[in-house]
Amino acid sequence: MADRRRINGPVGVTSPPVYANHTPGKAQKDTVQQRPDNTLRQIFLKTGITPSASGSAYLEVTGPSTNGPSGLKLNCTVHGPRSLAKSTPFTPYTTLTTHVKYAPFATRQRRGYLRDSSEKDLGVHLETALRGVIIADRWPKSGVDIIVTVLEGDQPREVFKGTPDEGIDAMNVLSGCITVASAAIADAGIDCVDMVAGGVAALVASEEDKGEPRFVLDPAPSEHDKILAGCCVAYLPSRDEITNLWYKGQTSGNDTLLYTQLVEKAVQASRGANKVLVDTLKEGVTEAGKQSKGSMEVDR
C-alpha cells in the first residue's frame, strides 16, 4: 500500500556514493572482528529519557567498526497501563501492543513511514517475548503500548555487502528491542516476573578458518563471510526460562547438539545484556533517591 498522504522520498534506491578506499585485494572483507568470540559488543543503556511517557529507555550498541559512531541505536517508550477505549470488550488482562518501527533513515535502504511486513514481524516477536514477563492480571481492562523506534540499524553505511544478511540483522535488532523494552517497562513500574533480556549467537564460517564453523556471541554480519545459523532468545535469568526463541539456519536434523549449543550461547549473550540492564536500573534508582533528597519532586 503506497503512502499518499505525505511527500515521499524518490521511488527506488538512492544510495550515497561510497568510494573504495581499501586495497582492492581486500574488498570482500568489510570489517575485521576485533573482539574474542565469546564477548559482546559494548552496550550503552539509559532509562527515563522521555519525560512524557510512563517509562522510556535508550539503547546503543557499538558497531562492528570501532572507528565510527555507527551502531545499533534504539529508543523505547512505554505508555500505560491506561484504560482501554469504551468500545473494547472486557479483558481480564492488560492488553499489550508492541510497535517496532525503523526510522526512514535507519538503514541503507530507505524505509517508508508505514510499517512494512518485516517491522510488523519484529513487533510480534517482541510481543511474544514480553507477554510472558509482564504480570498482566494485575491490570484488568487496561492497555500498555510499547513503541520501539530504531534510530540506526546495525549496518554501517560504509559496509558494502552484496547481499545483506537480513536474518542476523533482524535478530540483532530484535535482541536490542527486547532489552530496551525490558528497561522501559521497569522504568514505567509495571510488575514483571523477571527482567528479560535478548541475546543473539551465530554459527559462522570464514575463509581464514578454512570454512571451519565456530560460534560467535552477538555477531556482526559484516565481520563474517558466511553465517550458517543464528539464534535469538529472550531469556529470564532468575527463572532460567525462555519466552521467545527464534532460530534460523541450515543444520542437519541428526546434529541436534548444534542447535542445543547455539541456544546455550544465545542464553550466555542474554546474561551479558541482563547485567547491563540490572546495573542501569540500579543506577537509576540511586539517582532518583538523590534527587528526591534534594527536595525535588520526582513525578511520574
Binding site: P89, T128, R131, D225, E241, W246, S252, N254
Partner: protein
Amino acid sequence: MATNQQQVLISPAELAYLHASLSLSPEPIRPDGRSSTQFRPLVAETDILPGTNGSARICFADGSEAIVGVKVEVEKTKPKAGAMINPEEGKEEKGDTGVEGGGGFDDDKKNYSNDWVELAVDIPGHRDDDPGTAFLGNMILEALLEDGELVKRLRINSRFHWKMYLDVLLISQPLSYPLPLLSLTTHLALLSTRLPCLISEGDEDPMFDDDWAASTNLYPPRGEKSKLSTSRPPITLLVMSVGHSILFDPTYEELAVADAVLAVSVSEEPTKPVPQDTIATPKQAKDRALRLLSIRSIDPPSRITPPGVPNGLNPATNGEVAGLQPKHAEARTAEVPATEGVWKAPRGGVSRSVLSAMVFKALEKGGVADEVLDGLQGVEMASEILE
C-alpha cells in the same frame, strides 16, 4: 499472534479440565481422541487452478480449508549492489558460467536474491495490515528461503530469473492457528508448479516453448532423471507443550491451555544429483535425513485466558464452602496461589529442556515430520498417476 487478540471463549472450568487431561502422563488424553503425535485427517488435491503455474488445496477435518496459487514471471536480474564500485566484479561474472551448484562459498557469488519470491497470506476477518498475518507469512517464507533450494531453481541465466508469487488464501474461518494448514498447502502447490520449457541457450534473452505439455516441473518428481538435487520444499509443524506432554497439530481448545507453542520448519536433506544412468527410487522414511531450518516461538493464547476463582475467595460462595478463611474485600484475585483444579494462565516462559524436547521430537527419525512428508508424497504420487 493476531488470533490472540480475540477472547478465548472457553470457561475457566473447561480450561482446567483440558489442562489436566492434556498433561496426563504417559499418554495425554486429547479432546478428539488423537495420540500426541497424530495429525488431523486431511483431504488434499493439486493442480486445481488452471490459470496458475501450480496450485493446491487442503481441507482439514475440522472444516478449515486453504488454497495456494503459484504464479511466475520472467524478470531481469539486478546486478549485485557492489557492482558499480567493485573492480573485481567482472571476474566474478565470468566465473559464474562455470560449474553449477558448487556449494560452499561459490554459491554466494551467484546473485541469487531472496527478493525473487514474494508471499502473501490472506485470512478472512483479518485486516491486510494485521501484524499476525505478516508474522504467519514471514514464517512460511523464512523456511522457503532458508532452505535455499527454491531460489536456486528460479535462476534462468545470469541475466534473467523467474519471479515467483505465492498467494496463500485461507478460505474458512481461522478455527485454530492455521500455520500447519498453510504450510502444507504451500508445499503441495510448489510440488505441482510447472515452468515453461526453456529453448534459448546460455545468457541470451530467454525464449520458451509454447507447448504447455513440454513444461518442466519446478521440483522434478522422484524417479525422473534430472540435473537438480532431489530436494523437496520445507514444511512447518506446530508443536505445543502442556506440563510434560508434547502435542503436535494442536486444535483451538488445546492451544488455549498451552505452556509454549513452537513452529518448527524442517525439510529433507537434499541428495546429490543422481547420475543420468541410474533412476532414483522414492525415499522411504528410514533413509530420509531431516534438516532443521527455522524455529519460532508463538505467543500461546493461554496467556489471555480468564482465570478461575477458587471457592475460598469467591464472593458468591462467601468463602465458606472450602472451609478456608473468609474472603477479604481487598484481597486481590491476582495473588491467588495455584490451586488444584482452578485454572490460572501461565506466567513466564518455558525452560530450555522443554523447548529442546519439543524440537527433538519434531525431528525424530520416523516421527511426525517423516509421517507428514510420507503423506504428502502420497498426494504427489497420486496426482502423477491421474496425469
